[in-house]
């Protein structure tokens, strides 16, 4: 049976996500990627499961946060692989969900 792991950014990380890098302030995309997203993704990859990321409940998102967190994931593991193992949920903001998927697809992380 495949594992389904859920991360709620607002509940498990911060309800006020910040910008791209740690140097930009607290709750950055870099911090989220390194401490939550990457370890959770590696876990589901190992167990052959699916990672569900819930975007609801936060104040809102800076595009730099999304670009760093999901762009880094896509860059490290490959867009197709990530898209097949990750599910993005957002009932509050459909456009942010589309932006995350677009970021993964386009491997949008800026150097």
């Amino acid at each position: 049976m495949s594992t389904v792991k859920l991360i709620s950014i607002a509940k498990d990380f911060s309800d006020a996500p910040g910008a791209r890098y740690r140097s930009d302030g607290p709750a950055s995309g870099q911090e989220f990627f390194e401490t939550m997203l990457k370890p959770a993704y590696k876990e589901v990859l190992k167990e052959g499961g699916v990672l569900v990321v819930d975007l609801d409940g936060a104040y809102g998102y800076a595009t730099s946060f999304i670009s760093e967190a999901f762009g880094s994931l896509s860059k490290e593991f490959g867009p197709q692989e990530v898209l097949s193992r990750i599910e993005i949920i957002s009932t509050e903001d459909e456009l942010v969900k589309n932006f995350v998927i677009e970021t993964i697809t386009n491997n949008d992380k800026k150097a």
């Binding site: 006020a16 996500p17 910040g18 910008a19 791209r20 140097s23 930009d24 302030g25 607290p26 709750a27 950055s28 936060a58 104040y59 809102g60 998102y61 800076a62 595009t63 730099s64 946060f65 670009s67 509050e92 903001d93 459909e94 456009l95 942010v96 932006f99 800026k110």
Partner: protein, 189 residues
Amino acid sequence: MNNTLSIVTGVLGFFLGLIVVRVPYLKLDSAVNIIDLANLVALIVFTIVIPVILTSRLDNKKNHKELLILEVTVLCESLFSINESIVKMNDNALTREQFNSIVNLFKRANSHMSQISEEVSSIGDEKSIEKCKNFQERLKTYWETVTGDDGIKVENFIINAGFIWKQSKRYDDLVRAARSLKFEINRIV
């Protein structure tokens, strides 16, 4: 609409039946009277039922258009408050609360944009759909300009004239796209 038509037709039929039964000079005993009766029904349909249906349909469409234009206007007001708050912060360091407030305004704007997009698609007018897509794309560009790599940070970010000019330019593009969408919605017959 079909229900209204059925009720009107039913009531009309009932009264015509009563007239035929009660009034002696409307006895249906010849072909000429049936034709007269058909003319009477046609007259009532053309003078009352069809205008009522048409007016009702046009009113619904007009209301839908007006509501949609109003929704775009409300969204523009929300975007105006983002632009205005950034302009007012000229030469000041952004606080955590201000950062949260701006990203929250974008979240609400995005959510509103999705609803508008759905409603425009439901109308099915190709030009309006195209203008709506353009408006949505401009909103995304504005969001990326304000909160992207050259945009706001939680700490150590001073809002300078360069940033204000850059974001204002994107905001103006967005407002132009909104105006164009409203014009296109208003044009729908």
